[in-house]
Amino acid sequence: MDGWHGKLLRVNLSTGASKVEDIPDAWLKDYIGGRGLADRYLYEEMDPRVDPYSPDNKLIFATGPLTGTPIPCGARYMVVTKGALTNAITTSNSGGHWGPELRFAGYDLLILEGKAPKPVYLFIYDDVVEVRDAKNFWGKTVSLTEDGLRDELGIPQLRVACIGPAGEKLVRFACIMNDKHRAAGRSGVGAVMGSKNLKAIAVRGTKGVSIAEPEKFMKAMWAMRGRMAVSPGRMGFTELGTAATIDLTNAFGGCPTRNFESGQFEHAENLNGNAIKDTRMVANKACFACTIACGRVTRLAGDISDKYLVNMHPRNWKTAGEGPEYEAAWALGADTGVGDLDAVLKANWLCNDLGMDPISMGATLAAAMELYETNVIDDRHVELPLKFGSGDALVRMVEATAYREGFGDELAEGSKRMGDKFLHPEIFMGVKGQEFPAYDPRGFQGMGIAYATCNRGACHLRAWTPGIETSGAMDPHTPVGKAEWVAAEQNRSTSHDATGICLFTGAAGGTLDDLAACTAAATGVSFDTDDFVKIGERTWNIERLWNLKAGLTSKDDNLPERLLKVPHKSGPAKGVVVHLDQMLPPYYKTRGWDEEGVPTKEKLSELGLAAIG
């Protein structure tokens, strides 16, 4: 069918064999692509009970029908596998240029199976697929790997997705990095890739992407672009990037500080959008086909190479790196109490170059700092004092974690496993083993139910409630109406992941109608907004079914005691706790699930899943 290639590339790393398969048309129509389609394949082909590091775990890279087209922000690909951090299905999204390049090579999906006997990388040049020896790159940082592969293969236009040393060392929250600074970040997809002995996937594609109804597509695309060009949301992203969000969360007492001890960070103005723009930013950077360009290219101010010492020095130390985004600035900054932008920048660059998720890294370090401050661990355990607010500890521990040196070996297991080991499970701030991102549910009640029910563990991207909760339409401190809104939003947001465009278009003037119109024109299938919501719901339910099969239950749709019982002592959210007990039952009801959170027969047959549920 036009719009899709309708092809997937399957590579067995154990044998090195690869083959191209057709994707059933019915699946393309039912799931569109990206996250939905990859979920369907994972559900069909894999036993959810296997260990994430087992060769039987499959690693799927999925693009959507709009990846690689000029629709604004049509750059995204999805990594779907069983998460090393969560033991649940994980769906990590990344931008940059790698996803479109895979589409240009002629594939919608890439499925990796088995485990290579020694470190290898995968090379794809249109129809040429080779599993090659990675001995020159094993142990190297992300930027060295990417440049090294370009040199070794002699193709300057090559796009590379790879893991850093953290992924090789099976750090539970390692990322898959592409284009040096873009990450499929959460849930430890990089550790799964590392467990398969796969260092990198280098892609060059020259075939391009055709679409079904060109005139209709260009008209719909330009309509969307026009709306985005004049949207205040889009202008905000371009001007200040995502880091401006810290002003919003801080104002509402929803910026978790010092491992969720309070909801306001006193040094927030050091880390916000203006601080980055005025002092460290040198340019905007866009992903493929992006008309927003929220990426910040940053430089450290002057020579601070004698501050925040680490053993290794990334090459970009003195030139330019990228970030921090809001989540990274919060996790490495507010959550650990560090208010110095340079320390956060260094830590963020290290996370990028070593291939780690800065959210889980910062949150795990914050949990360790709580252990240190409460004297559970002391200087016998750690090489330098893990005090809240210590930039030295932050930067050094990021490096130590990636290489699993000293106490970094404990941090590399994530805060849930670390808390269990030191008999203080209450320090873990997250859901399903995955640390919270940067919104305190005591400040934004809706995030509580969004975190608790997200299929991949605590995640802000499936339903982002602070927008509507601060707009005046809903009270951020009461649970009324949140469950219904979150369930609907989780369905809506899936469309972006399935078609392969960026979620930010939704906040930057693009609507779901635009997306449906563009997808319909690109594929020639008459999708409308209702179809998209239905496809989103189907995808959500299939992920739920997968998780249930993997052994998760409604007990995993829970929040830590600290959020349910301990209110903030001051700030706008003073005295508020999360009323999850009032949100979870209506959520299950809205979803058409029973009290145990299991999708009912009626719901499944309504979604066309009766045969597999």
Binding site: P70, T206, K207, S210, I211, A283, F288, A289, A293, G295
Partner: protein, 163 residues
Amino acid sequence: MSLNLKIIPEKCTGCMQCELACSWVQTGTFQPSRSVIRVNVFDEEASYAPFTCFQCDEAWCMNACPVNAIAIDPTSGAKIVLEKSCVGCHLCTIACPFGTVFTTPGSDLASKCNLCGGNPACATACPTGAITAGDPSNKGPWLEPWGEQVNYRYQEACQTGAN
């Protein structure tokens, strides 16, 4: 005097919309590998530079072509490839000092920027104004900043005797 494409690298964010638009005009598919405008990325310098044919007044590709397959478009002043005449000898790609003449995979025919007949798609597609279609009567902006830079370095070299 040719229509000018004015390119300001400082405004470029590296989004490749120009490459997509160009390949769309060339091939009817979205295929950046066939675009004749290329964005050069210098990551560590935080610099992205879209780069395409200068439409030289005295075009070397045109002079080099043995079969007169490169002509001047009367509307835009662009140097265009006449595909019916082109024999695929690649001489123009060698003659071009800027590396902006390409060949089409398969047919080997030359492929270069033709300014889309006077309404360049890359300029329309650029979301940041890094590429604009300039006034044909004003040739300056395209080369001026570069010329200044070259002269500045030349004068500096003369003063220090390093020349």
